[in-house]
Each structure stands twice: as C-alpha cells, then as structure tokens.
Symmetry: C2
Subunit: 537 residues, 2 copies
C-alpha cells in the first residue's frame, strides 16, 4: 500500500502544476498512512499528549444542544396528544381500561384521519402519474375517468422525459406553476407569474424559508396574531427571532384592528426590535374568522406604510362557511388598491392540506412571492435549491387544487358533489359545535366563519385555577387533561396558541365525522357539568 | 357595529372571572374601533407623531436579509446550471444557436431525469396506495402484479383508516418504520428499533434537523470531508456553525485518514471551535470511494474517544461497483465492535433518491438515530413534529427500498432484472468515463468504487489560470464554463465541493444513458484537446 501511495504521489507531483501546497499535504498524508495501517487505535499513540477529558466534545444533552430548539414549542402535537396516544394504546390492549371506548382526536387539522375521503379525480390523476405505463392499457379505461387520464397525460407532458421520479426545477415543474398561476388569476382577476411560485412540501417549509430569510437575530421581530397557529412561534424561535404579538379582538369575532398592529409595532420598536413582517392568517387558525375586505385594505396599507413584508397564510381559502363573508386573497386586495410589485412585498401561502381536499399527508403547497428585488429573489431560489425540490406528487396535487375539473368535464359532477358534500358538512359541524359550546356554563364561542376550528373561551372557577397551579399546569391544560381522561376527547389548550393573558381557551377541530359529533357533544356537556360542579363553590 | 361591540363587551365583562387585564384590553379595543371604521388610513392620524423614515422597517435587500442565507452556496444547482438552462432554451427556440444539439446534464445525481426507469413494483404499489378504491376491481388484477396488490393492502392496513392523505405520526407510519427496522436488521445482522427511525422528505431535511440540533453558534464546528456534497456546507452556514474540513487523500483513492481527522480536530480546538460531529459520506460524494471496514472501525473509535456524533450519510449504500469493496453500515460496524447506545451517538441517513431506484422527486428518506438520551430524543421528535410528518408516498417508498421483493415473490424476477440492469449499467458507465478522463492530458481520475460520480483532477496550464483570473472566476469554473458553451456538457466545478487548495477538479455524474456516453466522451475529448492547445505554451 505504501509503495503504491508513494508511486501515485510521485506521478501526481510530476503532473502537478501547483505542487507546493500539494507536496506539503501529501507529505503529511504519507506519514499518517502508517497510523492508518496500524491496528492500534489512533488515540493511544497520542494519549501522552492530551487529556481525554479536556479535549472531548461536550456530551449531547438538553443543555448542550441548540437552545433555540429547546425554546420552540408545537402544542398541536404536544403533551396532551402524547397522553392521548398512550391512552389509546391502553384501550387497544384492554378495552375497559378507561371510561370511554375510543379517543376522539379534535386536536389537529387532519381531515382524512377522521374519515374524510379524498377527491376521487385528484387521486386518479396521482395514481396515473405514479405508474404511467398503465395509461395506454385497455383496463385503465375501465378503471379511471377519461378526464383523469387526459389530465395525467397533460401533466406528464409538462415533465421532462415524463420522469415523475426526477428532481424538478427547484421552484417546481414549470408547467404546473403555469397551471397554478392561471388558477390564481382566475381566482383573483389579476395576473400571476409562474416565476413567482415556489412549490414546497406543504406550506410549512415555505414559512420556514421566509423566516430564515428575514430573521438576522433576536432583534428582528415578526408580528403574529394572538392566538396563532404555533408553526409561527416555533419557526421564529428556531430562527432566533422575536415574536411580536398583536391581539385579535375576541369581542368582535376575532377582529384584526390596525390600531392594535400600530401599537404593538411601536412597543416593539421602543424595545429595540426591528419588525420585518406581519403574519396574517386568513381564514384564521385557531380563530376561524374571515377578514372583511375593508379590513384587508387597511392591513395592506399598514404594511406598505411601514415597509413590512406581508406574510399571508391563506391555506384555508376554500373553507368559508358563512354567506356574508368571502375569501379575498391579499394579492387581489393589494392589486385592487393599485399596489404592485414596487409597493408591497407580499408572500402568499397555500397548501393541499385543507380546503375540501384535506391531503395533509401528501405535503403539497406553495408560496407566491411578489414585491422583492431580483437579487433577494435569487437568494430565495438558492435556499430552495439546497433542498432540490418538493415532492412531485405534492406539486401535482397543488396544480389540481388550483385547477380542478370544470363544467363540462366528465368528472365535474362527481367532483362537485364530493366537494360540496364535504364543505356543507364542515359548515354544519362548525355550527353544531359552536352552539354546543355556547350552551356550556362559563363558555363563550365565536362562530367559525371559516377554517377548521373553534376556539371557545372558558371562564374557569378560582378553585380550578388553584388546582391547576398545584398540578403545575396552565388552567386550560388542566381542563383539557381532565376532559381527555374522562371522555377520550382531545382538545389543544389555548396556551398552545397564546391568548390574552388571564384568559383561557381551547381549540377544537370541526373534523370528527358527522355521526360522531353527537357523541362529542354529549360527552363534553356531561363532563363540563361535572367539572363545574366539582370546582364551583 | 360599535353598539354591538359594546354590548358583547359588557356580556363578556359580566361573565369574566379575571377581568382586570381584559377590561384594559377591551377599552383600548373600543377606542381603536373608531379608527378601524374610519376610511382614513391609520397612518395619517398618527403622522404628526412620528417620522415615516425613522420608523419604517429597513427595505428587504441582500444587505438586510439573514447573512447566513448569503453565505450558503449550493453549486450543484449553481451558476453553471443556470447558464445551461438558458442555453437549452436558446436551442429550443433556435436549434442552430449553439455548436451542439442538446445539453448533457452531468451535474446532478438525478437518474430518472436522464432516462433511468423506476422500479415497476415500487410504482405499482405507490399507485395502488394513491387510489385504493381500485384495489378490489377486476381490471386491477389485469393491470398490476399480484404481489404489488398484496403489498398495497398490507401497507394500507398499517395506516389508520387506510388514509394515505392524512398526516401520520411525526416520525412516520409505525408499520412502515417496523418494515424499515426489519430491513436494517436483515442488512446488518444487528437489531434496529422502529422508534429510532425518523422518516423525512429525502435525507436532506434530516441532515438539516441534526445541524439545527447540534449547532449553537459559530463556535460549534462540524467535521466535513473535503471534497464534500455541498448540502453540508450549506446547512452548516444556514445554521450559523463552522465547517471544519478534513481532507480526503486523492493519492490513495480518496482515503479517509484518522490522523487527518485528529489533526483537524486539534486545529479547530486551538481556534476555540467546539467540534460536535463528524460527517462521513460512504460511499462518497463527489469522490465515489467505498470505505474499507477497518477504516470504518478506526473512525468509530475516533468518534467514541472524542465524544463526537457520527453523522453517516449512507444514501449510496446500494451503489457499489467493485467486487473488492462492500458497503458496511456504520451501525453494523459500531455494533460489531461491541459498541452500543451508551458508547456512540450515531445518526445514519438513507434516501430513496439513489441506489438503483433513483426516486429523487418522491422525496423519501429517513435517519436512524441511536445513542442519544431520552430527553434529547424528545427534542428531535419535537422538531420533527413542527413539520408534522414527511410525505406518505416517500414513506411508503422508503419501506419498499428497505424491503423489496424477495425470492419467490411474483415480481422478484422482473424486479431483480431491472435492478441488476441499472446497477451493472452504472458500473459500466463509471468505468468508461473514468478511462476517458484518464486519457485526457493533465487529467487524473480515481475510480468510482461507488455512488454516482467521478471527480477528476485537472491540472490547468498557467495561461488558463490567468485567463480565469481575468474573467474573475475560479479556474475549474472557467474550464466548466468553456466546456458547456463549446459542447453542451454540464459538469460542476470542484470549487463547489471544495478541494485541497491549489488543486482543481470537476464533478461529472455517471448518469447519462449508455447510448449518450460515447457522445459525452467524444465531445469532451475534442474540447479538452482544443482547450489545451489554446492554453498551453
């Protein structure tokens, strides 16, 4: 081996045009070859020259990992859920282990886990794109709708070599971005540029990308609604920034007041925080409100005046349940005010996880990025390219969501029926649960105008609050824990979403199937009564 | 509206048990309602009390975004590729625009983009899991192999409610992790725990997760091989850490010397860097070497002695082309040395993107995490849960890769033929290209024992180096640029992977289809000759 090493080294030296550094490098390498060939562990030969204790890396403990990881929290899959999973396993092992037969997960916006069915047309297209070799088989005609076969061909023709297993362009397949841009334009009445679209594995990675871009240090702040979906607080913590809260007004159906934005901005500035962006979740999570267009205009104006990036989380854009409200994208609102690329920096997030499609596990989504300079856009592109691209099935789904079957398509009627069935059912469940909450003593619940959640406020008796303190847990978490162990129902404590200090809430999804809702209502109502009996004087 | 606000507010006040803070909050809200209802932009009413210039957020420019984003680079999709895409568009518009008919992308490990076909059985299973309603149709029997149907049922039974569109457990579907753990055990002969598996959207997000966990500041260092796959340098930069280089020995076929690890570790410590982990890519990227088992034992011993986390990138574990080498996982090597959970912290990365399956676009992969305390594991789980879960298709693929058809299965023969066809072809292409490079004047090329790349060293004439300097570009980038514009061939300059200072390389994949390889060789050879003629005196 050594002869070989030296021979090769000589060749390389002779060939080398810049050999000084390389000579030095090689010399140290050939000396070290001896140690490599020796069976003595390297350390022993050095043990006389160092103390293992002083040079060893610190062990990996919670005290030596990145403190930002410690700081970040994500209650949607937090302690209450871990406990629920444990109880579920106990019931599976021994059905009489608890005073309930099943866990009713109302903690997470995960519709298909609770029986919601996927949109048939979407899954037909995905399956065909996964296995294109069946496209021209006769049996396929009998198994799949004609328009799903046609759409699969169309999509495959947009993918170089029809290779659905290849990495795509870092922003996603161009043809799919064209489709999405066309869908955005059809929705808004204003043009969208496919080059502004970045397809991502769900909306969450896109949010992380923007937080990573905007946050330089803990002196950079991001205005976030309180209550908020805890992806934002987690992401800001992970990226070392500061969450600047603005409080939604529970008394006005979770209204978003620009004066509150202004106040919080000034307060942050007075603390030396540079606020860089405003997060708006519309329709809201966990609060379910749909902003009025005038409100949105005031928000856009605020961002423009203050030079803030507007981060518009619009993943629930298809979930609006009340006739008096309508979803308007912030892109549309900005453009309708005459504001273009030069006026406002806007990032709009969409996902395939919500709406009527509920394809959470497929991890599809995108951000539409407008109003940034070309060189900042290059940086965004660069960060996207480090991860190469998002998953192709998710990309395909995103294009289907933004361009579903149209009137006249073979699948249109069944698509429409599936979609309307899901949305009307969601609206009914939202109402049923809202009414149920409002009947509970000490509980008030705003209407869920949209999204998938209710966020009732619970007024807890003093005795309960003291019991919570004794148990070293927040009062709303105490309530949720008691609820779970008594009934199997899983809500997420409001603390997980933040709330006006001194108020308590919990988030409940509207997703259990309609036939389960009566059980949820009954168990909840009975539990609540006995809880109040126990803790009220 | 105001009457409504005040009425609701009164109700809430009466109901409120802890109303002091809430009263204050409400009072400021009702005052601010006036501004909300007014059509005057909020800013005007405050304009007397602030200067717009001093309070506005700094505009978003490359100088005001996170500098870590600016620092990170990813050459695999860098400038040379952007130029190639531009030239490609020019040829599509005007075929005679350049002295070549097509771009030959040899820059990225993306096999299916260059014609490699997916494994039929894998795609059958994916398609069936995407659209399970066809599973019991008679036409399906005619279109899909019986064992793919059976496997799809098996997988669906492992998914609660058979809901492939639902978010799964944050670490991935349990049943799939069981399959993967069994596959690891079959491969290594040592047990694997499904609870140690974290399924991720490809290996890259798993790498990012570990960097995020381990890097607290720029004082934390990660030992990385030079040359390295630039995900590592990019991730370390994005997380604010320090890359501590260790040089692979080109003269010994890119050997990894433990003495070099020791030297670099000591150097880093003397600069005040706390080295936390060692990255080893085996088989190597871009270098293609497969480590000898003895070498791996020395590496494991080194990590144990120094208390470093071993980050084992093993995504090319199925790509070994030489009979004298074999892939041994670091998990197997550690366990075979008698080292268990208490002895070494080891994270092993695998992906569905490489091997013989090449499913880059599906974004499937996992990390197997062993040797960390329970509370650190909880933190890893928490970070994984912020993104909810990886895409289900990728999870399914990962389980198929670790548990492919077995002897006796209906699909075994065709699966084996597809697999062997791809691997033997890769081995042939590796050899053909290696020989072609070694024939070029001033170029030496180590054998690609594994992975998907060659990393030849080029000795550039002084005149070329000066021309590169004048063009303000690195010499290897200069060569690659010239190569591209003359021939359409896309290599990535070695600078993108780092190299011993003063040496120049480029990375070429072995992925163009076999029938394209002669064209690559001919064009490259002709170009190289004229380049040397131009720049040698």
């Amino acid at each position: 081996m050594r002869r070989f090493v030296i021979g090769r080294a000589r060749n390389l030296l002779e060939n080398s045009c810049q050999n000084y550094q390389f000579q030095r490098y090689l010399l140290s390498s050939s000396q070290s070859s001896y140690r490599f060939l020796s069976s003595t562990p390297v350390v022993d030969s050095l043990s006389s020259s160092y103390s293992p204790y002083s040079t060893m890396a610190p062990p990996i403990t919670v005290n030596t990992i990145n403190p930002k990881v410690l700081e970040c929290e994500y209650a949607v899959r937090g302690e209450i859920v871990t406990l629920a999973q444990k109880l579920q396993q106990e019931i599976q092992a021994k059905p009489e282990a608890h005073p309930f037969e099943e866990i009713l997960y109302c903690n997470i916006g995960n519709p298909q886990s609770l029986g919601q069915q996927p949109i048939t047309f979407f899954r037909e297209v995905l399956a065909l794109c996964d296995h294109p070799s069946i496209l021209d088989k006769s049996e396929t005609q009998g198994l799949f709708s004609a328009d799903s076969i046609e759409r699969a061909w169309q999509i495959l023709d947009q993918i170089p070599g029809r290779a659905t297993g290849a990495y795509s362009h870092s922003q996603g397949i161009k043809g799919l971005r064209d489709t999405i841009a066309a869908g955005i334009e059809a929705r808004d009445g204003f043009p969208a540029d496919p080059n502004d679209i970045f397809l991502t594995d769900g909306a969450s990675p896109a949010v992380h990308m923007m937080m990573q871009l905007l946050i330089r240090s803990e002196k950079d702040g991001i205005l976030c609604p309180i209550p908020q979906y805890p992806l934002y607080s987690a992401s800001i913590a992970l990226h070392g920034g500061t969450l600047v809260p603005y409080y939604l007004d529970e008394a006005t159906g979770w209204g978003l007041e620009v004066s509150e934005l202004k106040n919080q901005l000034e307060t942050a500035k007075s603390k030396g925080i540079t606020v860089r962006a405003l997060v708006v979740i519309n329709p809201g999570n966990p609060t379910g409100q749909v902003l009025a267009e005038e409100n949105q205009k005031a928000i856009v104006e605020f961002c423009k005046q203050e030079g803030l990036v507007l981060l518009a989380d619009e993943v629930y854009q298809e979930n609006v349940y009340v006739p008096e409200k309508k979803f308007h994208s912030f892109k549309k609102v900005s453009r309708s005010m005459g504001y273009g690329e030069k006026d406002i920096s806007l990032v709009s997030f969409q996902s395939v996880s919500k709406g009527y499609y509920g394809e959470c596990g497929k991890r599809g989504g995108y951000m539409e990025v407008t109003g940034f300079s070309a060189d900042v856009r290059e940086q965004i592109y660069k960060v996207a390219s480090v991860n190469l691209c998002s998953n192709i099935s998710g990309q395909i789904l995103a294009s289907l969501v933004m361009s579903p079957p149209k009137v006249g398509d073979e699948s249109y009627e069944s698509y429409r029926a599936e979609r309307d069935g899901i949305l009307s059912s969601l609206a009914r469940r939202a109402k049923t649960l809202e009414d149920a909450f409002n009947k509970l003593e000490g509980v008030t619940c705003n209407k869920a105008e949209g999204a998938m959640y209710l966020f009732p406020r619970i007024c807890l008796p003093e005795k309960a609050i003291k019991a919570a303190e004794a148990a070293k847990t927040a009062p709303d978490a105490f309530y949720c824990h008691r609820l779970l162990t008594a009934t199997g129902i899983v809500f997420v404590p409001g603390s997980g979403f933040r709330q006006v200090p001194g108020t308590w809430h919990f988030r409940c999804t509207i997703l259990p199937q309609e036939d389960k809702i009566p059980a949820v209502v009954t168990r909840l109502t009975d539990f609540h009564k006995s809880f109040m009996d126990e803790f009220c004087d």
